[in-house]
């Protein structure tokens, strides 16, 4: 495993954590100090996810590892569940999304030029594709949830 790369990733992660807490303070006035332990736990799991991605020879992205670890640790029968949920829930779900999309907006910057080269027809077709995939999936889910008696 590559230690320099891992530390560089951690450095960026520290900023991401800081931005999330600042964002939360701005939006809801939530104290960054109070949410700090939860944020540190999140960062710890996130770094474990990056580590597992390099150690386990599966085509499993770090994002999926992060979800999987946090999922297993917070299943009700796990001894870690109550403590982790209590701390991590102090970090707002929406607060973690804003930094991602700030990075994402900048990162597609050099693709907007390419977008102009795509015919307007493909843009219309894409939007129809998104809409029909979304509602196709919703219809199948609705049907199955009704058959299962879940809804």
């Amino acid at each position: 495993m590559d230690m320099t790369k891992f530390l560089d990733q951690f450095k960026l992660m520290l900023f991401v954590g800081m931005f999330t807490l600042i964002g939360q303070l701005v939006s809801s006035g939530a104290s960054p100090i109070e949410a700090l332990p939860g944020m540190l736990l999140i960062m710890l799991i996130a770094m474990a996810a990056l580590l597992l991605k390099t150690l386990v020879p599966l085509q499993f992205p770090a994002f999926a590892w992060a979800t999987l670890i946090a999922f297993i640790l917070t299943i009700p029968m796990m001894p870690t569940s109550t403590f982790l949920l209590e701390q991590i829930n102090k970090v707002g779900f929406l607060a973690t999304t804003t930094p991602i999309l700030a990075f994402a907006g900048i990162s597609v910057g050099n693709k907007i030029g390419i977008l102009k080269k795509i015919s307007w027809k493909l843009v219309i077709v894409s939007l129809i594709v998104f809409t029909s995939t979304f509602f196709g999936s919703a219809l199948v889910a609705q049907l199955l949830l009704t058959l299962q008696g879940t809804i």
Partner: protein, 288 residues
């Protein structure tokens, strides 16, 4: 540059600080504006800080405002855009953890909904069903197969690229939908998520539908949807969306290879002759 090189600070720390400073400024401005909800006809559109963040981020890049304002061009150039790309990957991880903590406590509900969560992927077949005829009507031909075969995230890009080649008409089609999704996906799913409740479909079914595309499409759709459902359903909505997205990551590629590609090609062969006959007629008329 490799990912490791992009991550290297030494000699490049000013570039990192520029990106990080800009991201912090975008976060603060977006959170200051805060969530805005407004009624449009019978529905509610939910605008979340993440939406402003992605729009501001795009606006300040060299292709848009950077072209006109030279100070912006100095702030965000191509190196900074590459760093931001790696930044997305890192910043996604805390969200991944947060999703795990939503699914864990709701494990019983997720298991109960298991079959629906796995099989909703089949809804993908509705994509070419509706989108292919429209693409043909607009005058696209083999590009339409690539563009409408699925929602065209990375796995589809790989499958179509391998089978037809990226520079083939099919490859152009898949790339088109992919790029539009990358640039406008979050914004569009935010609107879909906030207005979808008007269809009368159950919030849980819509939650699963939010998971069909990329991680940020899902986040934008699910977060907006969660604001329009009764408070007691909020966590379950987010948990279902996250699980659906995770399962799509596993099953999606197989459904593209074994179902979507054969089906779209079969459908194309049935539909295309009518349009090609029309093409021929137009060509003949032009020749005269």
């Amino acid at each position: 540059m490799t990912e490791k090189e992009i991550l290297t600070w030494s000699g490049r720390s000013s570039k990192f600080l520029k990106v990080l400073g800009v991201v912090l400024a975008i976060v603060v401005v977006s959170e200051l504006i805060g969530m805005v909800k407004f009624a449009v006809g019978p529905g509610t559109v939910v605008l979340l800080p993440m939406l402003y963040a992605v729009i501001i981020g795009m606006l300040i890049t060299p292709d848009v405002l950077g072209k006109k304002i030279s100070a912006l061009k100095k702030l965000i150039g191509n190196d900074e855009i590459e760093i931001a790309g790696v930044g997305v990957m890192i910043a996604l991880l805390p969200l991944g953890v947060r999703y795990g903590t939503l699914v864990g406590p709701n494990i019983v509900k997720v298991l109960e909904a298991g079959p629906a969560l796995i099989l909703q992927e089949l809804g993908n077949l509705f994509t070419p069903l509706l989108a292919l005829p429209i693409a043909l009507m607009l005058g696209l031909r083999r590009e339409a197969v690539g563009a409408t075969v699925s929602i065209c995230r990375e796995p589809t890009l790989g499958v179509i690229g391998e089978r037809y080649g990226m520079s083939s008409p099919e490859g152009n089609g898949v790339l088109g939908t992919y790029i539009v999704g990358t640039v406008f996906g979050t914004i569009f799913f935010g609107f879909l998520g906030s207005l979808a409740i008007l269809t009368g479909l159950h919030p849980y079914a819509l939650a699963m539908a939010c998971g069909v595309g990329s991680g940020s499409m899902m986040t934008a759709g699910a977060a907006a949807l969660a604001e329009t459902v009764p408070a007691a359903m909020k966590d379950t909505v987010l948990a279902y969306a996250a699980t659906s997205n995770m399962l799509t990551g596993i099953t999606g590629i197989y459904s593209v290879i074994f179902l979507a590609v054969p089906f779209t090609n079969w459908y194309y062969r049935r539909l295309a002759p009518r349009f090609e006959a029309k093409d021929l007629k137009i060509a003949e008329q032009e020749a005269e």
